[in-house]
């Protein structure tokens, strides 16, 4: 099309020229005269293009071709711009993929919006249902299509799998028959349990996808095979899809609620009936599916009235109010906040990248004002020019988008592997259609941000001005300069906000590493030692005692202790004491969190806890002697403030062991951070296991040398004691603590990485701006030097200009940061949201980088030779 038009016009001009020759114009002159007579050829062409109807695709291809040519013509610009944008877009895509998988993607159930959890208003993850009420609820509630109840094995009592392979302890849930239909999910293989099986306590089991792969190699023949659960043969009837991670991530199987051991024989694991006792009722969880069109409020209202009715007809002190919660991904508030913070951070990085590229485009645009002016003079419309420039930007953004996508899918694997284990569905993050759409949108948006403003700016410039002034007109384009300066200010403002956030997180992380644990974590090995529930108590106790004794005799081992739970990282429930000597028992609303642990005689010594008063357990304590306990400082302060707690007596909440005996305090130890590094220690009671009657299953082994040396011998020793014992891997205490910090490490390093990117991009931004400024002002600098300015003056002049911009950006950023860091105060530890050290440090870091960015161009400015500069142009 284009070439036909050229040929046609050329023919015209040549024919005209020949006629001119015939009329006596010299042949040499004729072509020129013909062209003059014809008038503006380019303009005519442009009008022809419009006249034959604007073919959108055709002109798009033409624009793209031209854009490609322009980008190829300046490979340096293209490379820097594409790299910058790809980094920004890639980071956005990666974080968005995670956000999408974890938060935005609907749960994999039928109509998940109607699913609710009915639970304790304060701690929904703990449930809070009396089982005996369930049938009443089920038959009376009208707002629900269906409700189902389940019992979750918490970390405290995992179910043991034996049989094929080494015994292992796994998380499991025991569910009522209509659990799966209520959830609206179907097995990927086989079927789920029936109400018949529930009624007759048939031992059937539905496996998780993960367990199926691990224990049965993903074979479809698994259906009908047997698996030993706590020593009982259970028939595999189905396999759930990998996406089903309910109630928890890493749930390994689901079995009929009636096949739960503690259901069948409450005496086996506890002395009390779990169905009707408040101490254990917490484990009963209820999920429900609301009828279509029923709101949470309506359901809640119905539940409230039923609750009032039950309270009258069957009063029970164990019954507590429950609330209806929408079923949502099981994500802690801090994890959610951290994800949003990271998303905000990558958006800021992209904004900085965009401003950098916009700046480059503007700088190039200043060089191109001449070209644009020429094209305007030759008849190109303003809209046409803007479109052309925008096509260039869009092409640039799309190329970067593709590269960013590659970058993101590559990084995503690392992110998932590196990510903390507590984020549900993190491993499902991938580049899918939503993510592709997001990346495309972000790329185009970026193109608008960095492309449209410069395009408009450039096409706006007066052709007359720039044609006359040619390249020197740059100084005249003050508006252009102002815009470029504003972009750099914005970059530094964003960078400082990110840096401050990252700085606060880093300070929190350092504070956590320094936190007073209350015990000595060095040279400490840990190992969990459990028995399947079918094994007799006597055999379990024998195993533990032998393990304690034999481990203590291992070479390189100093002392061995054991405790029920090494750490208590979940929520700690409020607990009351039945009696404190010489005092009224406390009503339930006065209860506070309390942790009660059974320990071996040497546990506190092995941990290196600080004995403040009294004594440790000793030989004088026997299974039959009066019950004694050590308490921690917090416990002493809670119950005996200002008094000496030694010799004081109290009774536990849970009437275990020697049921109603008084317990005497024999010692006080310093607080230990056993319930999470970031949380204030909760009051503790440590009871000797021989008196409390429960077996401490977590071993702590203090070694004399490198703990790793003893790890293998320890494990093989314990393994040899009893073949059905379930052993966790042996880890060091430092590894355990490091694991606890992994979510924080993830957040901190990612935010750190992004803020570093921001800092570097902003530095590149000021560098390229100053570099360009110096190049443009060579003439002016030359004049100054010719008039007697010294090199140091020039240096100061350039750096001052850059520093002013950075200061403007920095101070804007600090105000923004002061407002924004407040939002992340729940992510901080041991440092305030407006921590002066962080703010000053970040500002200083920024200044150093910014000066570095200015220094190089400034040095270049001092190298200007006035003679050359004055002859410039």
């Amino acid at each position: 099309m284009e070439s036909e038009m050229d040929a046609e016009l050329r023919f015209h001009v040549e024919a005209l020229a020949e006629d001119l020759v015939r009329r006596g114009v010299p042949r040499k002159e004729s072509l020129r005269r013909a062209r003059i007579e014809f008038g503006g050829i380019e303009r005519a062409k442009e009008e022809c293009r419009d006249a034959r109807g604007t073919n959108f695709v055709e002109s798009l291809i033409q624009d793209l071709r031209f854009a490609l040519r322009m980008l190829r013509k300046s490979p340096g610009f293209t490379f820097v711009a594409v790299l910058t944008l790809a980094l920004g877009i890639g980071a956005n895509t990666a974080i968005f993929s995670i956000l999408e998988a974890v938060l935005l993607r609907p749960l994999p159930y039928r109509d998940p919006g109607r699913l609710v959890v009915v639970a304790d208003p304060e701690a929904p993850q703990h449930g809070g249902f009396l089982y005996k009420d369930f049938e009443t609820w089920k038959s009376q509630l009208r707002s629900f299509e269906n409700i189902a109840i389940y019992y979750r094995n918490t970390g405290i009592s995992r179910v043991a799998l034996t049989g094929a392979g080494e015994p292992e302890a796994v998380k499991a849930a025991f569910v009522s028959a209509d659990f799966f239909p209520t959830m609206g999910i179907w097995p990927e293989l086989g079927r789920t349990g029936t109400s018949e099986e529930e009624l007759h306590q048939v031992h059937v089991v539905v496996l998780s996808h993960g367990l199926w792969l691990r224990r049965f190699g993903g074979s479809p023949e698994v259906i009908g095979k047997d698996l030993q659960i706590d020593g009982i043969e259970s028939k595999v009837i189905g396999v759930m899809p990998a996406s089903f991670q309910f109630p928890d991530k890493n749930q390994e199987f689901w079995a009929p609620i009636t096949t739960n051991l503690s259901w069948q024989d409450p005496a086996l694991t506890t002395k009390i009936d779990p169905r009707n006792t408040r101490f254990f009722f917490a484990r009963w969880m209820v999920v429900g599916r609301l009828k279509t069109g029923v709101s949470l409020l309506q359901a809640q209202a119905e539940i409230n009235s039923l609750f009032a009715h039950l309270a009258e007809s069957d009063p029970d002190p164990n019954r507590a109010p429950v609330r209806v919660f929408p079923l949502c991904p099981n994500l802690s508030d801090n994890t959610r906040l951290a994800l949003f913070v990271l998303f905000g951070a990558v958006i800021s990085v992209l904004l900085i990248a965009c401003s950098n590229v916009a700046n480059l485009v503007l700088a190039r645009g200043a060089g191109r004002t001449h070209e644009m002016a020429l094209r305007t003079a030759l008849g190109a419309g303003r809209g046409r020019l803007t479109r052309q420039l925008f096509t260039e930007s869009a092409l640039l953004a799309l190329v970067s988008g593709c590269l960013g996508l590659l970058l993101a899918s590559f990084c995503l694997r690392t992110l998932i592997a590196f990510g903390p284990p507590d984020i549900p569905r993190l491993d499902e993050a991938r580049v899918d259609a939503h993510v592709l759409g997001f990346t495309l949108a972000v790329s185009l948006l970026a193109a608008v941000v960095f492309g449209l403003i410069p395009a408009w700016r450039i096409s706006q410039s007066d052709p007359q001005e720039s044609l006359k002034g040619a390249f020197r007109s740059a100084a005249g384009s003050m508006a252009l300069r102002r815009m470029r300066n504003a972009l750099v200010v914005l970059e530094f403002a964003l960078a400082i906000v990110l840096l401050t956030g990252a700085g606060l997180l880093v300070r929190s992380f350092l504070a956590l590493e320094e936190v007073d644990l209350g015990f000595q974590p060095e040279r400490l090995l840990t190992m969990r030692l459990t028995m399947p529930a079918d094994v007799s108590q006597a055999r379990t106790i024998a195993l533990h005692e032998e393990a304690l004794e034999r481990a203590a005799a291992l070479p390189g081992v100093k002392v061995v202790g054991a405790i029920s739970d090494l750490f208590e990282l979940g929520d700690v429930r409020n607990l009351g004491l039945r009696a404190v000597e010489g005092r009224e028992p406390e009503p339930r609303d006065k209860w506070t969190p309390l942790i009660w642990q059974s320990v071996s005689r040497d546990y506190l010594y092995a941990m290196g806890a600080l004995l403040l008063r009294g004594r440790y357990f000793s030989q004088q304590d026997t299974a039959d002697s009066p019950i004694v306990a050590l308490i921690d400082e917090n416990m002493a302060r809670r119950y005996w403030p200002g008094e000496d707690p030694i010799g004081k007596r109290f009774k536990g909440q849970d009437p275990r062991g020697r049921n109603d005996d008084w317990i005497t305090v024999i010692g006080v130890v310093g607080n230990m951070r056993r319930n999470g590094l970031e949380r204030e220690p909760v009051p503790h009671v440590f009871e000797w296991y021989k008196q409390s009657g429960s077996t401490p299953r977590d071993l702590v082994v203090r070694t004399t040398g490198d703990p790793r040396m003893a790890a293998a011998t320890l494990r093989s020793l314990v393994r040899s004691l009893d073949p059905v014992a379930i052993l966790s891997p042996v880890t060091t205490m430092s590894e355990q603590l490091s694991e606890q910090l992994s979510p924080r490490r993830f957040q901190t390093s990612l935010l750190g990485l992004f803020s570093l990117m921001a800092l570097i991009l902003a530095t590149v931004g000021i560098f390229s701006l100053m570099h360009y400024t110096v190049a443009q002002r060579t003439h002016e600098i030359g004049v100054r030097m010719a008039l007697g300015a010294r090199r140091s003056d020039i240096m100061r002049f350039v750096i001052r200009e850059g520093a002013l911009l950075v200061l403007a950006g920095g101070s804007t950023g600090i105000f923004a940061a002061l407002a924004l860091t407040r939002l992340i105060s729940s992510l901080l530890f041991g440092v305030g949201a407006s921590d002066p050290v962080t703010f000053v440090g970040v500002a200083a870091l920024l200044m150093v980088f910014a000066l570095l960015g200015c220094y190089v161009p400034a040095r270049r400015a001092t190298m200007v030779d006035p003679m050359v500069a004055l002859h410039y142009e």
């Binding site: 036909e4 038009m5 040929a7 046609e8 016009l9 023919f11 015209h12 040549e14 024919a15 005209l16 020949e18 007579e37 014809f38 008038g39 503006g40 050829i41 303009r43 005519a44 009008e47 022809c48 419009d50 006249a51 034959r52 109807g53």
Partner: protein, 113 residues
């Protein structure tokens, strides 16, 4: 030569249609033909000729094909289409009616009012 007249708005299209109705022409030929039949009394902007040709072609009133010129060179020839023929006819009638009306109006003398 008489003083040349500037082209009235919209009349270039009619002139082109008329010119090619007398036989297929290339762009330069159209220019020459118009100059010839107008006896050089009309000033044609050469630059505006081609956009007009493209527009008429786009509207389907003329069609083009490549052929050989008098001096054995490749040139693009335009000819009138059937639709163009009808268009030229109605335009001619409209023009004549308009010219009559205008002439009548402009020729009106005071006593005739």
């Amino acid at each position: 030569m008489d003083k040349q007249l500037d082209l009235l708005q919209g009349t270039l299209d009619m002139l082109i249609l008329k010119a090619v109705s007398l036989g297929p022409l290339h762009g330069y030929g159209v220019l020459l033909r118009i100059q010839q039949i107008s006896k050089d009394r009309l000033e044609i902007q050469q630059g505006s000729l081609y956009p007009a040709l493209y527009r008429l072609e786009h509207q389907g009133w003329i069609a083009s094909e490549w052929g050989e010129s008098e001096n054995k060179r490749k040139a693009k020839y335009y000819r009138l289409t059937a639709a163009g023929k009808r268009k030229l006819q109605t335009e001619t009638e409209n023009w004549n009616r308009m010219a009559n009306v205008m002439a009548g109006i402009l020729g009106t003398k005071p006593e005739e009012v």
